[in-house]
């Protein structure tokens, strides 16, 4: 159970004078409210701190306050003068104009155009699924177990037949104008998809061969 773990003493030491960041301070406060041991440690640090303040307030009698203040003021002036000598040169502000942005946008448009013209739609869909899987953390690209590197794989699903090699699509059957009514496989290395043309009612059977 995590309730048994205590906050490190170094953290508690920083918490007491209020030196922790806001969110960590809130977490420590929550923990201290529930944990007797940590609360006790906080009380100990607080009392130590109060005692130190009291000791610090009692300055030695021999100290000449006027002389000490004059020395400190002189040291501060010397430090400021030295800082001016070694200060870095101000960098010239680089202004991001519209031209580089327009060039980048143009290049992006060309890349998108080239992808759209050259890549098959199912490749784009696969890329989309891959990004979705990365973003959601769910394996949406291929739910089949990855095994050995045996050549071509015939994949059947309710959307049709694909021929894949090393996970990449190399062959597809689509029949855009028709309705898929069945897919089947033969262990001799072929698969078939049946389509019915909505307009004519004609049945078409398309087969692919892995070998």
């Amino acid at each position: 159970m995590r309730g048994k773990a205590h906050i490190p003493e170094t953290t508690l030491a920083l918490y007491v004078p209020g030196d922790l960041p806001l969110w960590r301070r809130a977490l420590v406060r929550l923990h201290v409210a529930r944990c007797a041991w940590c609360r006790q440690m906080v009380d100990v640090y607080r009392s130590d701190r109060a005692r130190l303040r009291e000791i610090a307030a009692e300055m030695p009698e021999s100290v000449n306050w006027n002389k000490l203040a004059a020395e400190m003021t002189a040291n501060i002036h010397v430090g400021l003068a030295a800082g001016e000598c070694v200060a870095p040169r101000r960098r010239k502000q680089v202004s991001v104009g519209w031209r580089p942005a327009a060039a980048m946008a143009g290049l992006a448009a060309v890349l998108v155009c080239a992808w759209w013209l050259n890549m098959p739609s199912n490749t784009t869909q696969e890329l989309g699924r891959a990004f979705h899987a990365i973003l959601t953390g769910r394996g949406g690209v291929n739910t089949f177990p990855a095994r050995d590197g045996r050549g071509l794989v015939v994949e059947l699903s309710s959307s049709g037949i694909d021929l894949r090699e090393n996970g990449s699509l190399v062959f597809g059957v689509s029949q855009d104008q028709a309705k898929l009514v069945d897919v089947s496989a033969s262990v001799q290395g072929s698969a078939s998809a049946r389509y019915v043309d909505d307009k004519t009612g004609q049945m078409t059977i398309t087969s692919v061969y892995a070998q």
Binding site: P145, L156, V170, A178, G189, V196, Q202, I205, T206
Partner: protein, 361 residues
């Protein structure tokens, strides 16, 4: 200057897309069908890596120039015949094309071709099946066997529905159509991968035996069978068979049904095999292939049934409608292409349209 560079880049992108693609339709000189027109409208090739992806989208218009009615036709679609992924086929079953009539064949698939030698695609007639079950064509894709079985199934199913119409009337036929549509909609399909060749399996394997559905009229009896199971993969099926008919058998197909951990059954694949089995002799069907299911699937049981038998005299046996009415088979077996076509006609044209269609045969 910058705008010129952009224009050049756009032109380059367009040029990369446009590949010179040669295409042709090849029919034998004595072909019983004549090519009337071909539209290659959507066909193109895209270079990717060391290969062309050839998207073949064509529409053929063919005329039956024979004296017989055409029942089915198959075309091989080739971009590179010997390259895996370079060959596909398109078949049209359940046709009834009278001599002189024109009919369409649509092609829509993607092929692969290595980049050397340019992009090309050839659509080649593989076979034509006629109403007397005679065949024309090179048959390089075994289309004669496939189309003959489709035609026998079509005759069986048309006969079945005609008999229902005769005995139970329109209402009976309507009920049969609704039952078929319901079965087609209920068939579960979890998705699957099929791989040929030996596997390098690292997970522990177990052997799982097949159970067999008995079909009393089947010429083949499956007696024993196993497959090796590893995770969600089933591989290397091996089935013992016996020819219990009086004719020698040269071909058979066994349906492979898989049951998952939720009790769902589905027809995973068919196991075809060329055999040479004399009457009364036994043999073995073995395939070096694996079926992979999604990772969450656990294979609990397997069932086999004889789905097609081919005799040496060229005739075929297919299960009767009575055999297919087995409760388990009804759930998993795919209806014939003809039954699917008839149910589509029922959906589109209603009961009267279906009755008219059945009267044509």
């Amino acid at each position: 200057m910058r705008s010129r560079a952009l224009l050049f880049a756009c032109a380059f992108a367009l040029a990369a897309r446009a590949q010179s693609l040669s295409h042709k339709v090849t029919l034998p000189a004595d072909s019983p069908v004549t090519l009337m027109a071909v539209d290659w409208g959507g066909t193109d090739a895209t270079a990717r890596g060391g290969a062309f992806f050839v998207d073949v989208r064509a529409s053929l218009s063919l005329r039956n120039s024979s004296q017989k009615r055409v029942r089915a036709i198959t075309f091989a679609v080739l971009s590179q015949e010997v390259t895996p992924g370079g060959k596909g086929s398109v078949s049209v079953p359940s046709l009834d094309v009278a001599p002189g009539d024109v009919f369409p064949v649509g092609i829509d698939l993607r092929l692969l071709r290595s980049i050397g030698g340019g992009a090309a695609v050839e659509v080649k007639l593989d076979g034509v099946l006629f109403d007397d079950l005679s065949f024309f064509g090179p048959n390089s894709l075994q289309s004669r066997r496939t189309m003959t079985v489709w035609e026998l199934e079509a005759r069986r199913d048309r006969q079945y529905f005609k008999k229902i119409l005769e005995t139970a009337g329109g209402k009976g036929l309507q009920d049969a159509m609704l039952d078929s549509l319901s079965r087609q909609a209920d068939r579960s399909w979890p998705g699957m991968q099929m791989v040929r060749g030996r596997a390098t399996v690292t997970d522990p394997e177990r052997e799982l035996s097949f159970a067999f559905l008995e079909m009393p009229d089947a010429p083949i009896q499956a007696t024993n069978g196993i497959a090796r199971i590893s995770g969600s993969e089933a591989r290397a099926p091996r089935i013992e068979i016996r020819n219990r008919s009086e004719r020698p058998i040269r071909y058979l197909e066994i349906g492979w049904i898989v049951k998952d951990q939720q009790g769902r059954e589905f027809l995973a694949a068919s196991l075809p095999a060329e055999v040479n089995l004399a009457p009364g002799r036994s043999g073995q069907v073995a395939q070096d292939a694996a079926l992979r299911f999604p990772e969450r699937t656990s294979i609990q049981a397997m069932t086999g049934f004889v789905s097609t038998v081919g005799f040496t005299d060229g005739s075929y046996w297919i299960p009767s409608r009575a055999s297919l009415n087995d409760v388990r088979l009804r759930r998993v077996v795919t209806p014939s292409p003809e039954e699917q076509r008839l149910t589509q006609i029922y959906q589109k044209k209603g009961l009267n349209g279906l009755i008219e269609e059945l009267k044509k045969f």
